[in-house]
């Protein structure tokens, strides 16, 4: 049970750090808004077509935002070498990842939930009838993004050109998440909404596979 308690303590630290300044959340929300507005210039956003593109826009905007938002994850542990302190404070190094990816999932989910009503208004898509189902796909998708993103952030923090490297490594890897999440969201925003269970299945598989991989190999990502 020490993994659980270690994770809980570290998660508390991550949440407190962010909620003190809220800078990550606010900048991510504004970034997504900017992306949405820019996207709207590239097609006829008021037509019936826009309904079909809303799901794609949603997930592309979230992916781009996440690949930027995940940069500080391990980068901020480099100043003052707090990563060494973290490593010493836990018995299981996976706790560090578990805490960070939980925090990242939460931050992503919060941003997405904040953006949902905005999307609903801007693109004329009914979000509230399927709100529960949307939360499920947003959660599973964000979890996938966070697991892969947190792991790769540990790598990019120690490389050159890290601002470009993280998206470069992360985005091709997240193709299955983008495909599945968009399909499920598209089905939910349809004129006759339905639940695309196969897509949910893909997301669950992705999350389980990558969480297991991170659990098996995470400690090597944190090596001196």
């Amino acid at each position: 049970m020490s993994l659980f308690s270690n994770t809980a303590v570290l998660l508390g630290k991550e949440l407190r750090t962010e909620f003190r300044s809220r800078e990550l959340l606010t900048t991510t929300v504004v970034f997504i808004l900017v992306v949405v507005v820019l996207f709207s210039f590239t097609f006829d956003a008021s037509s019936a077509e826009s309904r079909r593109f809303a799901a794609s826009l949603l997930w592309l905007a979230f992916l781009f935002a996440a690949s930027l938002m995940l940069q500080p994850c391990f980068l901020r542990e480099q100043s003052n070498d707090t990563l060494s302190a973290l490593r010493l404070s836990v018995t299981d190094p996976f706790a560090i990842f578990a805490a960070k990816l939980s925090a990242n999932t939460l931050f992503l989910l919060l941003t997405e939930l904040l953006m949902l009503p905005v999307f609903s208004v801007l693109f004329n898509v009914p979000v509230f009838p399927v709100f529960g189902e949307l939360v499920v796909v947003l959660f599973l998708g964000s979890l996938g993004v966070s697991i892969a993103g947190t792991a790769l952030s540990a790598i990019s923090a120690q490389a050159r050109m890290r601002e470009l490297l993280l998206p470069l490594l992360l985005l091709p890897l997240l193709t299955p998440v983008l495909v599945a999440s968009t399909r499920v969201t598209l089905a939910l925003l349809d004129t006759e909404p339905y639940m695309e269970w196969k897509g949910i299945g893909f997301l669950v598989v992705f999350d389980v596979v990558f969480l297991t991989a991170l659990w098996l190999f995470g400690e090597y990502l944190l090596e001196e």
Partner: protein, 225 residues
């Protein structure tokens, strides 16, 4: 040197035989005609590329476990060679598609997945150029290589599922089109020839990596004097 020349000659002969098989031995396909013969080069390259990436994956695992540089050398060699084969798949696909469909690219499930695969391993190679310390570079690229490879079935699966919802022209006639026995033999022989080419290329690339290590050592010794 002699063994090397002999090996190259054997590979060259196998490739020639495979091409002959594809062009003259294999029966002409009913619906697509002659153009379908690209299939033997295209599919055997695809399978060989995946084999190379699998070897890279195994080398990555062994490196993380043993930390001996030669496994890192094998990993980068296999990845680069796999990328070369994957490039051939992406080049022969449009050459096939254009006469048949009039367009160069169709976002067909397998071609799209191959494109993502290509991007994944390009990122792997780019990562290696951006980490300077050799041990760290080897470890991080091994870990990313592991993540990339386990992603491959998910990429192919999810894109295929997505594409069944919006059927597009399928390059190479899809899996539904039956293959006559002769076609299977030619395909498998082509794959065998491609695998021998892969072995040759990986060995050459591995040798380059080894010589590069030796050069660094001698260079440092010369500087120390």
């Amino acid at each position: 040197m002699k063994k090397h020349a002999l090996a190259s000659a054997v590979v060259f002969l196998l490739l020639g035989a495979a091409a002959y098989g594809a062009l003259f031995v294999a029966p002409t396909e009913k619906t697509m005609g002659t153009i379908q013969r690209i299939f033997y080069l295209h599919v055997s390259s695809a399978w060989t590329g995946l084999t190379a990436f699998f070897i890279c994956f195994l080398a990555n695992l062994v490196y993380v476990w043993r930390r001996e540089p030669r496994w890192d050398w094998l990993a980068v060699s296999a990845a680069e060679v796999g990328l070369v084969f994957t490039t051939v798949v992406l080049v022969t696909g449009p050459i096939w598609a254009h006469p048949v469909w009039g367009i160069w690219w169709t976002w067909d499930a397998r071609l799209t997945s191959t494109f993502v695969l290509w991007l994944l391993y390009i990122s792997y190679l780019l990562l290696r150029t951006l980490v300077e310390e050799p041990d760290r570079r080897a470890l991080f690229s091994a870990l990313f290589g592991i993540f990339a490879f386990i992603d491959v079935p998910l990429v192919f699966g999810s894109i295929r599922w997505w594409r069944t919802q919006h059927p597009q022209p399928v390059v190479m006639g899809g899996s539904g089109s039956g293959l006559e026995p002769t076609m299977w033999y030619v395909l498998l022989f082509s794959w065998g020839a491609m695998l021998s080419l892969m072995a040759l290329l990986v060995r050459a690339r591995f040798e380059f990596e080894a010589v590069r290590g030796e050069t660094d050592l001698v260079r440092r010794e010369a500087e120390g004097v």
